[in-house]
């Protein structure tokens, strides 16, 4: 059952990314292009996703997940250097190509060679992230 609902969630997420235009790098870069021809429409996509999720979070209070286990606890409001450095690097890459991890996966079947190369580079980046994290920690110490 867990696998079935994971599959359905992933599929619904992918469909949403396609329909909303998050897989179109030109549209994403237009949304980030505050200093040029700014296209604010993706703000509605983000807002439209946050709203049902806010309702879902409220619904978790005093309940447990349908298939067992516990809901993930709210993380400590601790802002480390990894959060800031990582978000800056991620944002720089997102602006450069117009793809973030979800849309990179959702569009890999129809994104041509560019989409495949991006996904491969992204997975390589994820593989070297643990040593990179240790390096950032050492630098900050």
């Amino acid at each position: 059952m867990r696998l079935l609902f994971a599959l359905i969630s992933g599929g619904l997420f992918g469909a949403g990314l396609l329909v909303s235009g998050m897989v179109d790098t030109t549209k994403v870069q237009g949304w980030l292009d505050v200093f040029g021809a700014w296209d604010p429409t993706l703000a509605f996509v983000l807002g439209g996703a946050i709203l049902p999720m806010a309702v879902a979070w409220r619904f978790t209070v005093g309940r447990a997940p349908k298939l067992g286990g516990t809901f993930p606890p709210k993380p400590e409001p601790r802002l480390g250097h990894n959060l800031v450095v990582g978000s800056l690097l991620f944002g720089a890459g997102w602006g450069l190509a117009g793809l973030c991890p979800g849309p990179a996966l959702a569009s890999v079947s129809f994104g041509g060679w560019g989409g495949l190369v991006f996904l491969a580079a992204m997975l390589a980046g994820m593989a070297v992230a643990p040593p990179a994290r240790r390096w950032v920690d050492a630098m900050a110490a």
């Binding site: 867990r2 696998l3 609902f5 994971a6 599959l7 969630s9 992933g10 599929g11 619904l12 997420f13 992918g14 949403g16 396609l18 998050m22 897989v23 870069q29 292009d33 505050v34 040029g36 996509v45 983000l46 996703a49 946050i50 049902p52 999720m53 309702v55 879902a56 997940p65 516990t70 709210k74 409001p77 959060l83 800031v84 450095v85 990582g86 978000s87 800056l88 690097l89 991620f90 720089a92 890459g93 602006g95 450069l96 190509a97 117009g98 973030c100 991890p101 979800g102 129809f110 041509g112 560019g114 989409g115 991006f118 997975l123 980046g125 994820m126 593989a127 070297v128 992230a129 643990p130």
Partner: protein, 128 residues
């Protein structure tokens, strides 16, 4: 639909729908204990969009044709999202909606960096 997917994954499976976390855990081995659930999510994410593509006259991701740009951007997205422990879906959708300070701060920084990146590479350097 994105919010519905995140809500479903949370309320039924009890998991945060963060793309970089789900995939990253498969890549670096940190998500070994529930790899099947992660793999099933990724399978749906990869396989469902192409089923809908025929409904459109044209679907184009308009991705850069410059291999250096693509590789550099992919590496940055991969390393950055894992260092930050989340990307647009994890921090942006799931984090902000529960008023998580980490999610809000991460979103401010990646939007800021994204805006600066487009300014630099598009308007100043002209590579995208």
């Amino acid at each position: 639909m994105i919010g519905g997917a995140a809500a479903l994954f949370l309320l039924v499976n009890g998991r945060i729908m963060g793309a970089s976390g789900i995939v990253g855990g498969l890549v670096d081995g940190s998500g070994k204990s529930n790899w099947r659930e992660r793999a099933a999510f990724v399978a749906g994410l990869v396989a469902v969009p192409p089923m809908l593509v025929p409904l459109y006259a044209e679907v184009d991701t308009h991705i850069s044709q410059n291999v250096f740009v693509i590789v550099a951007a992919g590496l940055l997205v991969g390393i950055g999202s894992r260092l930050a422990n989340g990307c647009t879906s994890g921090h942006g959708v799931c984090g902000i909606s529960r008023f998580s300070l980490r999610g809000i701060v991460a979103t401010v920084f990646y939007l800021l960096a994204g805006g600066m990146s487009v300014l630099l590479f598009k308007h100043l350097l002209g590579v995208i």
